[in-house]
């Protein structure tokens, strides 16, 4: 479960006030909103990458408000993937486990399992440079899931993909999140993507987050990004 209570963040030029959001355990939440409204900032706050002014963040039953990013157990997939450019795909996926000092054999087994289920076994010994957009996102997803986090945060993971790859990635995200039971928060502009993936849809509008129905996404009332 992801619970944000009365979150306030100062961003210098503007600030977010009293943000509230709850994604039920195992659900797939999608957060929509105009560019620059602060969606990514909220996601960063969940991951612990952005210092907050006030409020509380609970993840998987723990109050993580004061915890470091490393202690929050959130799998983070940023825009464009942000793969570690100097490492092979294999080392990218195994990174979190080598930090946790898993035995080498166990790391390789986990990498093999993830690569198999995400369909990137043939890419394991390549460097991120030269991978296609879809391949990068798959690797980033595998890396984020490697340490079996209960929470997954995706920042516009499909925005740079062509339609076919996007549809394929949507199917993958659906099956992976269902199989792992991970609670997901996914940021997107794309209505189709939102309706397709989400159990819960949130709209960031005028500094507030409100939950809306699938129908409201398809036939939006007022303006929406």
């Amino acid at each position: 479960m992801i619970t944000i209570q009365n979150l306030s963040i100062d961003l210098g030029t503007f600030s977010l006030r009293d943000i509230n959001l709850t994604v039920a355990a195992g659900n797939y939440g999608v957060l929509m909103g105009k560019t620059g409204c602060g969606k990514t900032t909220v996601l960063e706050a969940i991951c612990g990458l952005r210092s907050i002014k006030s409020g509380q963040i609970h993840l998987a039953g723990r109050d993580v408000t004061k915890l470091k990013p490393a202690e929050r157990r959130v799998g983070f997939v940023p825009q464009e993937g942000a793969l570690f450019t100097t490492m092979s795909v294999r080392r990218n996926i195994g990174f979190a486990l080598s930090i946790r000092r898993w035995p080498k054999k166990a790391i390789q087994e986990r990498i093999g399992f993830l690569a198999e289920s995400i369909g990137i076994t043939h890419l394991l010994d390549r460097k991120p440079e030269g991978l296609s957009g879809g391949e990068r996102q798959r690797v980033a997803l595998a890396r984020a899931l490697s340490f079996e986090p209960p929470i997954l945060c995706l920042d516009e993971p499909l925005s740079a993909l062509d339609d076919d790859t996007r549809a394929e990635m949507c199917r993958l995200l659906q099956s992976i999140t269902k199989n792992t039971g991970v609670t997901t928060l996914h940021i997107t502009h794309n209505r189709e993507e939102a309706v397709r993936l989400a159990n819960q849809i949130f709209l960031f509008d005028e500094g507030r987050i409100k939950e809306i129905s699938h129908e409201q996404v398809i036939r939006p009332v007022g303006e929406m990004g």
Partner: protein, 298 residues
């Protein structure tokens, strides 16, 4: 654009030629490049092979070459070690008084070199204890430390460490600029991801950021090395120009000129030019190759 369309409604729109633009830019560029080459060629025309062999056989010059290579290398390594954390902290974090710190770091670049030497001399001559007639200076402090550590009471001033320190003061400022630019160009997103994957800042730096800044480190080191090789003013004031002790190549040029040996001075100057070119090309080549390997990796 609108007015152009209006003035030629029935004709094809034609763009003016690019020739004047490129002629101007190319001639200004080539003027400077030719000028650099000309000053080197002029030196080469004036000097004979014999002058090189005379210079290279001179024990003073041999010592000076050795000392230059050693001190420049130490300076380059020290500069990289110090500029790495400064560049990283300034690039990534909201450091209090950042503008002030930035300005302080520019001081060695904008200060006249001679003034840096003089300031170093004054700093190490400061009396920290004792009386006016029997002062105990900062340099004396180092004498005691070096006696304890190495069994020799060698101070800093007018000794080899002064050469390194004088070179370091200026070279490091350039290395800091380079490292800062290097880290500015590396997106912090990868570090963010590393933090969520279980790293603390230290692990994220050593495992994710440092491998990416390899080329920047190489550039900073080279720049510091080349800068140190040419350092003269502060060395003259702070380390002195004692033959077979603190004589580095620029000091040799100065000393040879002082005794009227223009050809000798020229030969040493060209040796410095050659050394600088070799290092620059070597690093470009090494850096470029590494980069190519990295790009070509399957």
């Amino acid at each position: 654009m609108k007015s152009t369309q209006l003035s030629t409604p029935n004709h094809e729109y034609r763009v003016k030629t690019d020739i004047p633009f490129f002629t101007l830019f190319a001639s200004l560029s080539s003027f400077y490049i030719l000028f650099i080459l000309m000053i080197i060629v002029a030196g080469l025309l004036k000097v004979e092979w014999n002058d090189f062999s005379i210079a290279l056989r001179n024990p003073n010059i041999q010592y000076s070459i050795r000392l230059s290579m050693i001190t420049c290398t130490i300076t380059a390594v020290l500069s990289v070690i110090v500029s790495l954390p400064i560049g990283y902290l300034l690039s990534r974090f909201k450091v209090p008084g950042k503008i002030l710190i930035d300005s302080i770091l520019d001081i060695p670049i904008v200060l006249p070199p001679l003034v840096i030497g003089l300031s170093l001399l004054i700093l190490f001559g400061l009396t920290v204890a004792g009386t006016d007639s029997d002062p105990f200076t900062v340099d004396d402090l180092f004498r005691i430390v070096s006696k304890k550590l190495f069994g020799r009471d060698a101070g800093i001033v007018f000794q080899i460490p002064a050469v390194v320190l004088a070179q370091f003061m200026v070279a490091c400022a350039f290395a800091v600029r380079t490292m800062r630019a290097t880290f500015d160009q590396i997106s912090p997103r990868q570090e963010d991801v590393a933090l969520t994957l279980g790293c603390n800042h230290s692990q994220a730096f050593w495992r994710v950021v440092l491998p990416q800044s390899f080329r920047g480190i190489l550039t900073a080191g080279t720049l510091a090395w080349a800068r140190a090789l040419g350092e003269f003013g502060p060395i003259l004031v702070f380390a002195g120009s004692v033959r077979m002790r603190t004589e580095v190549l620029p000091v040799s040029v100065f000393l040879e000129l002082g005794i009227g040996n223009v050809k000798g001075a020229l030969a040493i100057s060209l040796i410095m030019v050659a050394a600088a070119i070799v290092v620059l090309v070597l690093v470009r080549f090494l850096g470029g190759k590494t980069f190519e390997n990295y790009r070509r990796a399957p």
